[in-house]
């Protein structure tokens, strides 16, 4: 099991480095282990350097930078261990317009995974293959309704421009 864990971390690390550079359009990230500690006891550290910035602790990343780093890490785990589905509840809340685009682009890359994405962003909606609305027309009772997006391709949430 020590070998298995080591292999998994190595695979995820490879995918994470690649996916981080993809979602940030540059920069570098890594997963770091303490070589002196037993794999089954060690702590797994994350380092992330957005493009054009100096390497700093993950605590100093901004809200949106943290979201994008986590999306890259999550998808790296998915790549190394495919899972039939993934549910994301308003993961795009802190993202600016450019990052919403990169976020939806990278989801499209994972054809084998079924994504269920809850959002308030019209831009994320326009990336949907299937779109559901949930409303409470009758107070306190949720119903599923069909949602027609005026013109799906056009409806982009004009977040404050990046």
């Amino acid at each position: 099991s020590r070998r298995l864990l080591g292999d998994t971390i190595e695979t995820v690390r490879g995918h994470f480095r690649e996916l981080f550079t993809r979602v940030f359009g540059g920069g570098q990230a890594d997963i770091v282990l303490d070589p002196d500690v037993d794999l089954l006891e060690t702590s797994v550290e994350i380092v992330a350097r957005p493009p054009g910035k100096e390497p700093r602790g993950i605590g100093l990343l901004s809200g949106g930078e943290k979201t994008m780093t986590c999306v890259a890490l999550l998808l790296a785990i998915f790549r190394s261990r495919p899972n039939p589905f993934c549910v994301l509840d308003e993961v795009d809340a802190a993202l600016d317009e450019a990052n919403v685009d990169r976020f939806t682009d990278v989801l499209k890359d994972f054809r084998d995974t079924q994504f269920i994405v809850v959002t308030h962003s019209k831009k994320t909606m326009s990336a949907a293959t299937t779109l559901y609305g949930v409303t409470m027309e009758e107070s306190g009772v949720s119903k599923r309704v069909a949602v027609r997006l005026e013109n799906r391709a056009v409806a982009a949430r004009p977040r404050a421009a990046a």
């Binding site: 797994v44 909606m125 599923r144």
Partner: protein, 165 residues
């Protein structure tokens, strides 16, 4: 093994039987604040065996049962099912569709079912042990918790990798 549908009945604010089909690709769910979107997410966690009442935002396991509204009486049970396409027979069940169901009654009693037959949570976990679906650690990201992987301690993070191993 593809997830094909979710069905809720009496679960939280979904008093009536409601079905969400999931064709391949990205399914997006939208709606006003408080309309029931995160309740859909809770339903998926619950049917996969979520035991923590706090993580379902309640105080008691029966808080997931429709508790009534201005025009409706509370219900006595909640039920949620997840359906998977098993034509490739990846799941050790002799059927083209595998449907896992969870129920809870006002009394607090609950049960799990696999294709209509009573099962234990252990059976459901074993069913998925090869596919990763039952491990929620990285397949369901709750609202407001997207950076959980970063803020977790290094040891907790290792635990997620162990689950993925």
């Amino acid at each position: 093994t593809r997830l094909t549908a979710l069905e809720l009945c009496g679960f939280k604010s979904f008093a009536d039987r409601t079905r969400f089909e999931f064709p391949p690709g990205i399914t997006v769910v939208v709606g006003p604040n408080g309309s029931g979107k995160s309740n859909v997410v809770d339903a998926i966690k619950w049917v996969l065996g979520e035991q923590s009442v706090r993580s379902l935002r309640g105080r008691d396991m029966t808080d997931v049962i429709f508790a009534g509204s201005a025009g409706r009486k509370p219900l006595n049970a909640a039920e949620t099912s997840l359906c998977f396409d098993n034509t490739a027979r990846r799941l050790p069940v002799e059927a083209d569709e595998v449907r896992i169901t969870r129920r809870v009654y006002r009394s607090g009693e609950g049960e799990y079912l696999i294709n209509g037959e009573v099962a234990r949570l252990r059976d459901i976990r074993e069913l998925f042990s090869g596919t990763g679906a039952a491990t929620e650690a990285y397949s369901v990201i709750e609202q407001g918790r997207v950076d959980a992987l970063l803020v977790a301690s290094g040891r907790d993070r290792r635990a997620v990798f162990e689950e993925a191993a």
